[in-house]
C-alpha cells in the first residue's frame, strides 16, 4: 500500500465520521469502535464473573463432596448431582474460552485500540463492527438461556465430542435442548468473530496513517492482526462443524453418528457417520483458538513492558516474526489433542513434531521478555506487575506442554489433571494476566481516570500466589493419574489425593475473593478515580497522542497524526527518555 493510495482512501467521504446523535446511536447501537470495544469488555466482565462462580461451585463440590450448600443443584438443593457438575463444567469452559479469553483481549481491547494505534478514525467497516458485537451478545444470551431449559445446559464439555453431543436426549441428562442451544450459540459466536476479523484485517492493512509502516506498528497491533488472520480461518471451520452438529441433532442426518448405537436397549437409526470427523473439525479450530486466546496477551505484554522498563523491548522484529510463526504453526498441530483418539498412530508422530517445534518461537519470545528486564529501570505498577507475572505463569504453563506434546508421555497423562493444570496456566492465568495488565495500563486512556495503584498491587500479589496454589498441584495429581472431568473421586487410587483437592478448593475461593478487589477498583475508579494525565505512563504509541482521555469520537480531533518512528523508542539519550511515535504533528 503506497502513500498516494492511502491518501486517496483517507479522502473518501464514506470514511469521514460524523459525531453520533441520540441515546441509541451513542450508547447502544454505536458505530464507534471505542464504544464497541467497551461493550465487548463489559460482556467479558459479565462472562468472567459467571464463569468464575461456576468454577467455585465446581471446586466446592470436588473439595467437599458432602457439603450442604444451597444452589448446588436444581434437583436437590443440598447436594450436587453428577450431571449438574458436568453441566457447570461445560458452561465454565465454554464461557471462559469464548466469551472471556477470545472476547476481552482481542475483541475488547483490540476494537478500542487498534484503530487508534494505527492512527485511524475508526475501523474500516463500522456497521459490520456493530453487528459483530450484537451477534456475539446474542450468542452469549443463547448460551446462558440453556441454563433455563428443561434438562439444563449441555454436559459434553466445551469440546462437545460426538456422538454424546450429536445423538440428542437419548444420550442422557444434559443432552437435550441445552446442547442444541450450545451449538447455535457457538455458531453465532463464529459469525460475530468473522465480522470482527474482517474489520481488524482491513483496518490494519488499509487505514494506517502517514508514516505508520507495518514495521512501525505496536506489538499489540501486530498481535491483534495476526490473531484476526488465525481467527478468520479457524472460525470459518468451526461454523460448518456446528452446522453439521445441529443437523445431526435436529434433522436426522448422520455426519458424526455411526451405525448400531444402543441407548436404553434401543438401536439408533443413525448410521455411517464418524465421531472422529467432529474431533478433526473441532480441533482444527480448537488449537488455533488457544493461540487466539494467548497471542493478544503476547502483544499486550510486549507493548506494555517497555513503558515500565524504560528501554526498548529486546529483538522487536524477532518477536513479531515469532508471533507470526506461532500463528502459522498453530494450524499444523491439532492432532496432538487426538493422540489416543483411534486415528492412525503414525499421524501422532506427524503432529507431535510441529507441536514440539512450536516451543522454539515460544521459548524465544519468553527469553526476549526476560532479557528485556535485564538492565532496565524497572517501574513497578499494577500493570507492570501483571506483565512480569505473565512471564512467570507462561513459563509454568508452557513447560507442561512439553510433556503433553510427546505421544508416548501423553499415553499416560492424557485425560488427567496434568492437562487441566497445563491449560489453566496458559489460558486461565497467563491470558487473564494479559487482560489485567491491559486493564490497568489502558484504563486511564479509556475512562480519563486513574485506577487505584495500591489496590492493584494487592490484587496482583494475592492473585499471583493464589493461582500457583490452585493450578500447580494439578500437575502433581495428574502425575498420580487423577482423571479429569470427574464429578466425584470414588476410585480407590484417588482417595489419597482428596486432601490436595481440598487445598485447591480453598486456594480457588481465596483467589476468587481477591478478584473482588479488582472489581471494586474497576467500578470505583470509573466514577471516583483521580483524573488521568494524557500520558500517565510516559509511553510512545499513538493512543497516548490523542487530544483527550477518553479520545474524541474520531480519535485525533480531525487531524491525522504523522508517525516518525516505531513504538520502541525508550531509553533514548537527552532530557526525555522516550520519543513518541507521533513525533511530528500533521
Amino acid at each position: 500500500m503506497t502513500t498516494p493510495v492511502r491518501e486517496t482512501v483517507a479522502k473518501l467521504t464514506e470514511l469521514k465520521h460524523q459525531p453520533p446523535e441520540g441515546f441509541w446511536r451513542r450508547y447502544v447501537f454505536s458505530l464507534d469502535h471505542k464504544v464497541i470495544g467497551r461493550q465487548y469488555l463489559d460482556l467479558a466482565l459479565v462472562a468472567v464473573i459467571t464463569g468464575m462462580v461456576l468454577s467455585w461451585l465446581m471446586r466446592l463440590h470436588l473439595g467437599y463432596p458432602n457439603a450442604s450448600i444451597g444452589v448446588l443443584g436444581p434437583a436437590n438443593p443440598s447436594q450436587m448431582t453428577p450431571e449438574y457438575y458436568l453441566q457447570l463444567m461445560t458452561m465454565h469452559g465454554t464461557i471462559m474460552v469464548f466469551f472471556v479469553l477470545t472476547t476481552a483481549p482481542f475483541a475488547g481491547f483490540g476494537n478500542f485500540f487498534l484503530p487508534i494505534q494505527v492512527g485511524a478514525e475508526d475501523m474500516a467497516f463500522p456497521r459490520f463492527n456493530m453487528m459483530s458485537f450484537w451477534v456475539t451478545f446474542l450468542a452469549f444470551v443463547t448460551l446462558v438461556a440453556s441454563f433455563f431449559v428443561p434438562e439444563g445446559p449441555a454436559l459434553s464439555g466445551w469440546t462437545a465430542y460426538a456422538p454424546l453431543s450429536a445423538i440428542g436426549k437419548e444420550a442422557g441428562p444434559g443432552e437435550g435442548l441445552g446442547q442444541t442451544l450450545w451449538a447455535i450459540s457457538i455458531a453465532l459466536f463464529c459469525v460475530g468473530q468473522l465480522l470482527g476479523a474482517l474489520n481488524f484485517i482491513a483496518t490494519t492493512l488499509d487505514l494506517r496513517t502517514k508514516g505508520m509502516s507495518l514495521a512501525r506498528m505496536p506489538f499489540s497491533t501486530w498481535a491483534w492482526f495476526t490473531t484476526s488472520v488465525i481467527g478468520l480461518i479457524a472460525f470459518s471451520v468451526l461454523l460448518p462443524a456446528c452446522i453439521l452438529l445441529i443437523l445431526d441433532r435436529v434433522a436426522g442426518t448422520s455426519f458424526f453418528i455411526p451405525a448400531g448405537l444402543v441407548f436404553n436397549d434401543q438401536v439408533q437409526t443413525h448410521s455411517g457417520g464418524s465421531p472422529l470427523l467432529w474431533q478433526h473439525l473441532f480441533w482444527f479450530f480448537g488449537h488455533p483458538e488457544v493461540y487466539i486466546a494467548i497471542l493478544p496477551g503476547f502483544g499486550i505484554i510486549s507493548h506494555i513492558l517497555p513503558a515500565f522498563t524504560r528501554k526498548p523491548l529486546l529483538g522487536p522484529k524477532v518477536l513479531i516474526g515469532c508471533m507470526i510463526a506461532i500463528g502459522f504453526l498453530s494450524y499444523t498441530v491439532w492432532g496432538h489433542h487426538m493422540f489416543l483418539s483411534g486415528m492412525n498412530p503414525f499421524s501422532a508422530i506427524l503432529f507431535s513434531v510441529p507441536t514440539l517445534i512450536i516451543t522454539i518461537p515460544a521459548t524465544i519470545v519468553t527469553l526476549l521478555w526476560i532479557g528485556s528486564i535485564y538492565g532496565a529501570r524497572l517501574r513497578i505498577t499494577a500493570a507492570s506487575l501483571f506483565c512480569l507475572g505473565f512471564v512467570s505463569v507462561f513459563v509454568s504453563g508452557g513447560i507442561s506442554g512439553f510433556f503433553l506434546a510427546q505421544p508416548s508421555i501423553d499415553t499416560y497423562l492424557h485425560g488427567t489433571y496434568f492437562v487441566v493444570g497445563h491449560f489453566h496456566f496458559v489460558m486461565g492465568v497467563a491470558a487473564m494476566f494479559g487482560i489485567f495488565a491491559g486493564t490497568y495500563f489502558w484504563f486511564p486512556k479509556m475512562y480519563g481516570r486513574m485506577m487505584n495503584e495500591t489496590l492493584g498491587k494487592w490484587h496482583f500479589a494475592l492473585t499471583f500466589i493464589g493461582v500457583y496454589c490452585i493450578f500447580m498441584p494439578m500437575h502433581y495429581i495428574g502425575l498420580a493419574g487423577n482423571v479429569r472431568r470427574y464429578s466425584s473421586f470414588t476410585d480407590d487410587y484417588l482417595q489419597p489425593l482428596l486432601p490436595v483437592h481440598k487445598f485447591m478448593t480453598i486456594a480457588a475461593l481465596f483467589t476468587g475473593a481477591a478478584q473482588l478487589i479488582f472489581f471494586y477498583n474497576l467500578f470505583r475508579s470509573r466514577f471516583k478515580g483521580p483524573p488521568a494525565p494524557p500520558n500517565p505512563w510516559e509511553a510512545t504509541s499513538l493512543e497516548w497522542s490523542t487530544p483527550a482521555s477518553p479520545p474524541p469520537f474520531d480519535n485525533f480531533g480531525g487531524k491525522h497524526p504523522v508517525v516518525t518512528q516505531g513504538p520502541n523508542e525508550y531509553g533514548t539519550a537527552g532530557a526525555k527518555d522516550y520519543v513518541m511515535q507521533a513525533g511530528g504533528e500533521a
Partner: protein, 264 residues
C-alpha cells in the same frame, strides 16, 4: 514491591520444582513390559524442562530484583536478541529432536506394532457406564454382535445370539478383566453408545473407544494384583463412576477363573 515479586517467584519456583523432584506425588509403580520406555521418556523430559523452568524463573526473579526501582543507565542484554534465538533454536531444538527420536520408538512399540501371535485376545465393550469383557471360550472364536439383540435387562451386553450362533455359545462375558501374568494381551475395543476410554495407570496404557470402530490395544502385565480400569473420555453423568478391575493372576489361577466363569 519488585523485590517482593522476585522473592515470591523464587519461592514458588523452588517449592514447585522440589515437589516434582522429590516425587511427593508420582506415578504408581509400573507393572508392564513397555512402561519403562514411557517412564524413561517422562523422566528425561522432567529433567530437561525442570532445568528450563528453574533457570528462566530465577533469571526473571534476579533481573526484576536488580532492576526494580533502578535509576542508573539502562543496559542491553549482552548480545541482544541473538543469545535468545540461539538458546531456543539450538538447545531446545536439540532436546526436541532427541525426545522425538527416542519417544517415537516408544510410541511405535506401543501402538504401531502388531500384537504377538500368542496374545490372548479379549473383546472389550464400553457403554454408559460400565466395561464388559468377553473371552472366546474353548472354540477360540468370538460370536457375532447384533445391536438389535442387546438387552441389559437380560445381561446380553454384547448382543449375542447363542441360540442361532454356535460360536457365541461358549463366549464368556465378565465384568472383570482377568488376565494371566507375563502373557501378551490383545484387547479389541468397541463402544456401544458414546466415546469412552480405557486407562490403567499402572500398566501405562490408555486408549479411546470410538463408536463405529474396533480398536486394538495390546500390553503385557508383569506383576499379579488387582488394578483399576477407569474411563477417561467424558461419556455422561456416570463417567466418574465407570470403572472395572484388571486382575492379573498366574496361569493356573486364570485357567481356574475361566472355568468358573464358564460354568455360570
Amino acid at each position: 514491591m519488585g523485590k517482593f515479586f522476585a522473592v515470591t517467584v523464587g519461592i514458588l519456583t523452588i517449592v514447585s520444582a522440589g515437589i516434582f523432584m522429590f516425587h511427593v506425588w508420582w506415578l504408581p509403580p509400573d507393572i508392564s513390559v513397555l512402561g519403562a520406555g514411557i517412564d524413561h521418556q517422562l523422566n528425561e523430559t522432567m529433567v530437561a524442562s525442570g532445568i528450563l523452568f528453574v533457570a528462566s524463573q530465577l533469571a526473571l526473579a534476579v533481573f526484576v530484583w536488580r532492576s526494580s526501582g533502578s535509576t542508573g543507565p539502562i543496559k542491553i542484554f549482552p548480545g541482544g536478541a541473538t543469545p535468545m534465538v540461539v538458546i531456543a533454536v539450538v538447545l531446545v531444538g536439540i532436546e526436541v529432536a532427541v525426545l522425538t527420536l527416542v519417544g517415537s520408538k516408544v510410541w511405535a512399540g506401543l501402538f504401531m506394532v502388531q500384537a504377538p501371535a500368542n496374545a490372548l485376545q479379549v473383546d472389550v465393550q464400553a457403554e454408559q457406564f460400565a466395561f464388559y469383557f468377553r473371552y472366546a471360550g474353548p472354540d477360540g472364536k468370538f460370536g457375532a454382535m447384533d445391536p438389535s439383540k442387546v438387552s441389559d435387562a437380560n445381561n446380553n451386553f454384547f448382543g449375542l445370539d447363542p441360540a442361532n450362533d454356535t460360536t457365541a455359545r461358549d463366549d464368556i462375558v465378565a465384568a472383570t478383566l482377568a488376565i494371566p501374568v507375563n502373557r501378551p494381551i490383545l484387547l479389541t475395543m468397541h463402544s456401544r453408545d458414546v466415546g469412552h476410554a480405557f486407562y490403567v495407570p499402572q500398566l501405562r496404557i490408555q486408549q479411546d473407544f470410538v463408536p463405529g470402530l474396533v480398536i486394538p490395544l495390546h500390553f503385557t502385565a508383569t506383576q499379579t494384583g488387582k488394578y483399576e480400569i477407569v474411563c477417561t473420555q467424558l461419556c455422561g453423568l456416570g463417567h466418574y463412576n465407570m470403572r472395572a478391575y484388571v486382575e492379573v493372576m498366574s496361569d493356573s489361577d486364570f485357567a481356574q477363573w475361566l472355568k468358573t466363569q464358564a460354568n455360570q
